[in-house]
Symmetry: C2
Subunit: 143 residues, 2 copies
């Protein structure tokens, strides 16, 4: 029942990105958006989720698929740390908290409207270019 809904959402999601629903992609899509919630993943965390699901997908395929999903606009890649790429199922412009010690990443300011971050007075894109996205990362350290 939940499985069924997950598959339905996953399939619709892939379709909305114009991505062919292969077996590995369906599984990854279900793990990413099956429950209808947004999440942040790394290649590693997704590989672990695959393991936990009992299915098998090659590590390289996880990497390639994350990139394919990002290219299709289904995921947003977030670079906070030279050694690991994060992917967010929420592709809108929104700020993130990043814990420098643990490497945890979370949405910032989604605890109600009063803390909606605003970036104002953006300079115009240099001629010959356009803004593809604006990343705002609030780096945190333990006190």
């Amino acid at each position: 029942m939940t499985q069924m809904q997950d598959r339905r959402r996953a399939e619709a999601w892939l379709q909305s990105g114009g991505v062919r629903p292969t077996r590995p992609r369906m599984l990854l899509a279900a793990l990413l958006v099956g429950d209808g919630r947004h999440r942040h993943v790394t290649a590693e965390s997704l590989v672990d989720a695959v393991k936990d699901s009992g299915e098998k997908v090659a590590v390289a395929t996880v990497y390639n698929t994350l990139k394919a999903f990002s290219d299709a606009g289904l995921l947003r890649e977030i670079t906070v740390n030279g050694t690991r790429s994060y992917f967010d199922t929420d592709t809108s412009n929104h700020a993130h908290f990043y814990w420098e010690d643990t490497g945890e990443l979370a949405d910032a300011g989604n605890d109600g409207a009063e803390h909606q971050i605003a970036v104002s007075n953006l300079p115009p894109a240099p001629s010959g270019t356009e803004i593809s996205k604006v990343d705002v990362v609030i780096r945190l350290r333990r006190t």
Copy 2:
């Protein structure tokens, strides 16, 4: 004459960070801040600059030194791209343009006061943490 000024600035800079002025550090400092201007470098670009200067510093030392300078608060590390770290001699919070195709990094909105980017309504740092810095990266693609 210029060389002399460069050395003077480099030494003062190291001193302000409480970093011991060794031969490699003096050279790298001179390349980084000798002319009194701010710049963005990568380990690779700095290695090249060392070569051009006619001096020799081990690649590992360039990496270690960039990290040491960052730890001392003399440089600000900027992560825009999983595969390369950038270092900015301007350690203040300020936004950057990043060209996705060439990997070029530049200050944004420093063309006068009218385009001073403002990030407002920052959410409070989660308890037990404090904000170490806020990174704003405006990613550009060619049109």
